[in-house]
């Protein structure tokens, strides 16, 4: 691997370099370095985003703003973040290892646009938006993703920060199926946030990872169960709907058949986890 390295200090300089060359942005480097080594990407220039510095994680209007170059470790160390986003803390703890979390960044995870992206999945459940520089656009993250590894940004554009909305009064469920705890790339993952009154669904968001070209969410199915009672039958029905619509592939981690079965089974597991009172009663 041979390339030039640059660490611009301004947004303009970074943007110019990115649009003028076959460039790759480097923040934590935990994915990029693997790709460079495998020669699956051959940039002319590596642009280190760390030259732009690292702003503080901000909380405003029930939202968190996570700036460029913020690492997973930075998030795990942030008391307010831990208090307000417990599901994300669970997800982050299952990403990589301490060594990876000390370098890897949520924005990097989004830009890789992997269907197995753990943090990316979370942004689908937490109303995630990206702030783009230098064009100053604000785009919903799910709308930015254009397939595996593909992100809809112009050559001069890059993600400068992201915003996630707090889910106050929601319960959540997250499961990542894999072969070991650390360094796991999911075979299939499921994240759910649920707001209920007594046993009636007020709002539910369901996102699957690693079963399609990107994170999968069907808002019409989510809406169809609003106002319904949380029962095993309902989740069985939901599981069947998702199984019908989702067409996973076979790869090195698992077969399509296994993934398809797990689409429904995870949802049933989610039912028992989200509905512990039902289990106890």
């Amino acid at each position: 691997m041979q390339f030039k390295y640059s660490k611009p200090k301004t947004i303009e300089e970074l943007s110019m370099l990115k649009s003028n060359y076959n460039a790759k942005l480097l923040a934590g480097g935990t994915d990029l370095m693997v790709k460079l080594r495998a020669k699956s990407c051959k940039p002319e220039i590596i642009i280190d985003t760390k030259g732009l510095g690292k702003n503080e994680i901000k909380f405003e209007n029930e939202k968190v703003i996570i700036p460029l170059n913020t690492t997973y470790s930075d998030l795990l160390k942030n008391k307010k973040f831990k208090e307000k986003f417990p599901m994300l803390v669970d997800i982050i703890k299952k990403i990589g290892s301490p060594q990876i979390r000390n370098r890897a960044t949520p924005i990097g995870n989004i830009c890789n646009a992997s269907p197995a992206g753990d943090f990316l999945l979370a942004t689908y459940l937490y109303h995630g938006y990206a702030y783009i520089k230098p064009t100053n656009k604000k785009i919903k993250i799910s709308q930015l993703i254009d397939g595996p590894g593909k992100i809809k940004l112009k050559p001069e554009e890059f993600i400068y920060s992201i915003e996630l909305k707090e889910r106050i009064g929601y319960e959540y469920y997250y499961e990542k199926v894999g072969k070991r705890n650390a360094m796991n790339i999911s075979i299939i993952s499921l994240g759910i946030v649920l707001k209920k009154k007594q046993n009636i669904i007020e709002e539910i968001k369901i996102a699957y990872g690693s079963v399609g070209p990107t994170i999968i969410r069907f808002e019409d199915l989510e809406k169809s169960v609003i106002g319904k009672e949380i029962t095993r039958d309902l989740f069985d029905w939901l599981g069947e709907q998702y199984t019908k619509r989702i067409n996973p592939i076979t790869d090195v981690r698992a077969t399509a058949e296994y993934r398809k079965k797990m689409v429904k089974n995870l949802l049933i597991k989610a039912f028992y986890n989200l509905n512990k009172t039902f289990q106890e009663g």
Binding site: M1, Q2, F3, K4, Y5, K7, L26, G28, G29, T30, M33, V34, R37, I46, D48, K50, S73, G96, S97, P98, Q99, I100, N102, R103, N181, A182, M183
Partner: protein, 168 residues
Amino acid sequence: MKIRFKLNNKDIEYDVEEYKRALDFLRDDMRMTSVKEGCGEGECGACTIILNGKNVNSCMILAVELDGQEVWTLEGLNEIGDTSIQESYIEKGAIQCGFCTPGFIMSTKVLLDNNPDPDDNEIKEALEGNLCRCTGYTKIIEAVKLASTKLAEKNTTVADKRGEKNAV
């Protein structure tokens, strides 16, 4: 590209290739051969170094990224006599072939610096990014606990000595 950084508390200035990994730079140019290449893709932790107080995989960092930063390798800990962890690994037999050991020691160092008295789960979580194919981890966990006790004893003796001085 010229970089300036601190390696084991020494100021280093070096002209390094822009595409070189920190792992290769530390081994080949700096002769820090405690830094091992295992998988080369962040899975095994054999190349773990301490960068600004955090354990990281040096195979996933470019040498040029070290510019302006502070790096510690096992050699540095030996130079300053910070060997309690290493001794504990030897005493508990937490070493067989030894290839993974420098990486484990660096991760243990970061753990104990931040959490001097970790429980089993905290140790397991902190060492999750380091693989050992010989020992089966039980002895490694014992070694971390022993190191924690040793460091606590060291700190109290230092404190006692300070106390004595103050008394005089």
